[in-house]
């Protein structure tokens, strides 16, 4: 038989001003199961809390109902009071007679009557409360970081420096990502590689970081603290242990006209290649789709040349299985290629390039060693037109969002061009200038005022080739949409930043959702920006939305700190408000029939399948099982279950039903 204590708080005049405390206490005393009922001016004050402690001891209470403010306000307080006095905190409930009663109704009999109802409702619930205990889940203190761009590098280093193991997986032959391709970075114009490469080296040498380049994620199973991950280490075609990275193989490779991915096709590479001089690891890979040996079965020039005899044509892919406690997804982005734009000739005109390609031209380590030369004839362009928002903010093209970084890098490009070609003309066509950020607006101003970049507000309707020139047709909306036509030598499109082509597939692999643009979705747009709806999986950088470098790094560190917090304990402890599947004695075992509709409905993949077997191992039936580590306690499965085989701890069918019947 329950022994419930009811404690009514006056909250000064806040409650007592409109609700008659005497009547409520008296009525509470008449509710079956209530053995004690008092009121006090401030129940949350020390004397108030003591009233509860004493009653708990003297009246041997089995449950406590505090009628006061909203549980969102003081539930933790009063649950703590119970816990301190040896009562399971989950046997304490709050009746919200302030926010939901005294503050929203005038002083009257009816208001007091409502307060009494609210108390009764919670008493009926409390009578059916059961002690609950936080759920403990063991944690594997190793993090998996997907993607070796600046986000992945930063996250890996932060986690590793916190003292935890990290597995960094990169799809390409080297880490570095897009940042390694950049020339200089806005708004400071410091050399991208100068600030990045030390970090890349640090990753390679860090004792806590295991690096898997040229590798891809196969599958992820398990749940927070306990993920089981399969990684495919693609065959490089060389023995990494023997290879010294001398580069002779590449020199000997007869195929020298393969467009270099790293140089965004502004330069060429060989079939066996290291993507760029500072690559980490500095070991080549063989491009099996192009290598003559793989295509025709002969050549082996590299094998002959290799002083370390490290070439392995028959090397197979390797599948690595690892257990990790958390996953940080930093898989980055792609930019639209010029082929995307009919109005700019579908990428046919050689001298229409993307911003990323311009980065390679402007980069000291680029194919032109930093000299701005146009692709078609290598001539230094006298007039360059930069087109901002190429694709972005364009519903017609399906990219409604602002790619965010283009305004800044376009200003930077124009600036870099002017610095290298002083007498040249730089035009920028733009819609709006979005330069929110530290020193950003000033940076754009500099481009206009100090470097004389000509900004024209308007969209470019068409660009076409005419005897060695590119005719750029647009309008200047600030001059009443007056037509503008510019004869340019080079046109640079600030093409939109878009989600990786594989983003959707990846999202499904790691069970996180993605938005309509296929960017990965955070758990909450404001309050949980680096978490996903799958516990233990975090996001950083441009895989989530267009970001610039400072934001990406900040996010990476944020995600890393989440991981570090998760790893700081040997077990993670979770609120026990989770679903449980009914179990009973043989021959039924469970009234769950195993229709697994709950499995389909669960937003968190928390429903597992459990086989019930006889002693001699004969399968009796397969029933649902809730993974306590994953369940978030929404109760969708509970409402869905026809046989009522699933229930939600803390909000059980019995409790809620009793509440309704007490109304």
């Amino acid at each position: 038989m329950s022994r419930i204590g009811v404690f009514l708080c006056h909250c000064g005049e806040n409650i007592a001003g409109t609700v008659d405390p005497g009547k409520v206490v008296e009525a509470a005393n008449r509710i079956p199961g209530v053995v004690h009922s008092v009121d006090y001016k401030y129940m949350c004050s020390d004397p108030g809390q003591n009233l509860i402690r004493e009653a708990m001891r003297d009246k041997r209470l089995t449950g406590v109902v505090v009628a006061a403010c909203s549980p969102r306000m003081h539930e933790p307080t009063f649950r703590r009071v119970c816990a301190e006095s040896g009562l399971n905190p989950f046997l304490c409930e709050m009746a919200n007679v302030r926010e939901h009663c005294s503050w929203v109704h005038e002083k009257s009999e009816l208001t007091t009557a409502k307060a009494i109802d609210l108390v009764r409702i919670m008493v009926e619930k409390a009578k059916r409360n059961r002690p609950l205990f936080p759920i403990k889940v063991p944690v594997t203190k190793t993090a998996l970081v997907l993607g070796g761009g600046i986000a992945g590098i930063q996250a890996s280093l932060d986690i590793a420096n916190a003292g935890y193991k990290v597995l960094l997986v990169e799809r390409d032959p080297s880490i570095g990502g897009h940042m390694a391709q950049l020339s200089e970075t806005f708004p400071t114009l410091d050399c991208s590689q100068c600030i990045l490469t030390p970090r890349m080296v640090e990753v390679a040498q860090h004792p806590n970081i295991t690096l898997h380049t040229y590798s891809e994620l196969e599958s992820v199973d398990g749940f927070i603290g306990n993920f089981k991950v399969k990684i495919r280490k693609k065959a490089r075609g060389i023995d990494e242990k023997l290879c010294t990275g001398c580069g002779v193989c590449a020199q000997k490779c007869p195929l020298k006209k393969i467009p270099s991915e790293f140089n965004a096709a502004m330069g060429m590479r060989t079939a066996i290649y290291t993507p760029f001089p500072q690559a980490v690891p500095n070991k080549p890979v063989i491009d099996k789709k192009r290598c003559t040996y793989y295509l025709k079965g002969k050549c082996k020039a590299c094998e002959k040349a290799c002083p370390a005899e490290a070439i392995r044509f028959d090397q197979p892919d390797e599948i690595i299985e690892v257990e990790t406690g958390a996953i940080v997804c930093t898989t980055g982005f792609e930019v639209l290629s010029t082929e995307f734009f009919p109005e700019y000739g579908y990428g046919k005109p050689k001298d229409i390039i993307t911003g990323l390609q311009f980065e390679r031209l402007a980069s000291a380590s680029g194919p032109t060693l930093g000299a701005i030369r146009r692709p078609s004839d290598g001539k230094e362009p006298e007039t360059v037109v930069f087109i901002a928002c190429a694709g972005s903010r364009d519903p017609a093209k399906g990219i409604e969002y602002c790619s965010k970084i283009c305004c800044m890098y376009t200003a930077k490009h124009a600036m870099l061009y002017k610095h290298k070609v002083h007498q040249g003309n730089a035009y920028v066509f733009y819609m709006d200038i979005r330069a929110g950020g530290k020193m950003y607006e000033e940076f754009v101003r500099r481009a206009i005022e100090e470097d004389g970049v000509k900004y024209i507000r308007g969209r470019v309707s068409r660009v076409y080739e005419q005897d060695g020139k590119l005719i750029v047709k647009g309008a200047d909306t600030l001059l009443g949409a007056q037509p503008v036509e510019i004869e340019a030598d080079l046109v640079v499109l600030a093409t939109a930043m878009v989600a990786n082509s594989g983003a959707e597939e990846l999202a499904k692999k790691i069970h996180v959702s993605y938005d309509s643009y296929h960017f990965l979705a955070e758990a909450h747009p404001k309050l949980r920006p680096v978490e996903t709806n799958t516990a233990g999986i975090f996001l950083a950088g441009a895989c989530q939305a267009p970001r610039d470098i400072p934001e990406t790094v900040a996010q990476a560190s944020a995600a890393a700190s989440k991981v570090a917090a998760l790893f700081s304990a040997d077990e993670l402890s979770r609120e026990p408000v989770i679903a449980v599947v009914h179990r009973t004695a043989p021959p039924i075992f469970s009234i769950c029939e195993g229709c697994f509709m709950c499995e389909q409905a669960c937003p968190f993949q928390a429903i597992e399948r459990e086989e019930i077997k006889t002693r001699d191992g004969k399968l009796i039936k397969v029933v649902a099982k809730v993974n306590p580590g994953v369940c978030q306690g929404c109760g969708t499965c509970v409402a869905l279950c026809r046989a009522k085989a699933i229930d939600l701890q803390g909000f059980t069918n019995e409790q809620v039903y009793a509440e309704v019947m007490a109304v």
């Binding site: 503050w103 109704h105 009557a113 306690g633 109760g635 509440e659 309704v660 019947m661």
Partner: protein
Amino acid sequence: MAEFEPKIVAFVCNWCTYAGADLTGTSRIKYAHNVRMIRLPCTGRIDFMLLLKAFARGADGVIVSGCHPGDCHYTAGNYHARRRWILFRQLLDFLGFDIRRLHFAWVSAAEGAKWAETVNSVVEEVRRLGPFQNYQQLARAGIE
């Protein structure tokens, strides 16, 4: 005789509507006292049988409220709930049940005022409809 005071039971989710109703309180917006609120973690947890039980218990009207689409604390609970409501309403209507007594609302944690308006308008409509005799008469019918 005194004016009929409808009994309204509200099933609300913890993260949006319950918090929204808290805001109504902190903003001291007054509304009809007739509503009794039952707090659940998510609209996804709200079994349609609970709504039936509220009417069986003598409710003249029922409000079900939770996070706006896309705002669900559990990402999708309210989408699942919405599908259930769609069918449940159609079934009730097909049975001739007076669905003007069953109201659904999205009330976010920021919409304290909307909660007050919702309650007030539901109370007024149900007051106009009068006691839910159809259902209350069921209580004894068929018992000999």
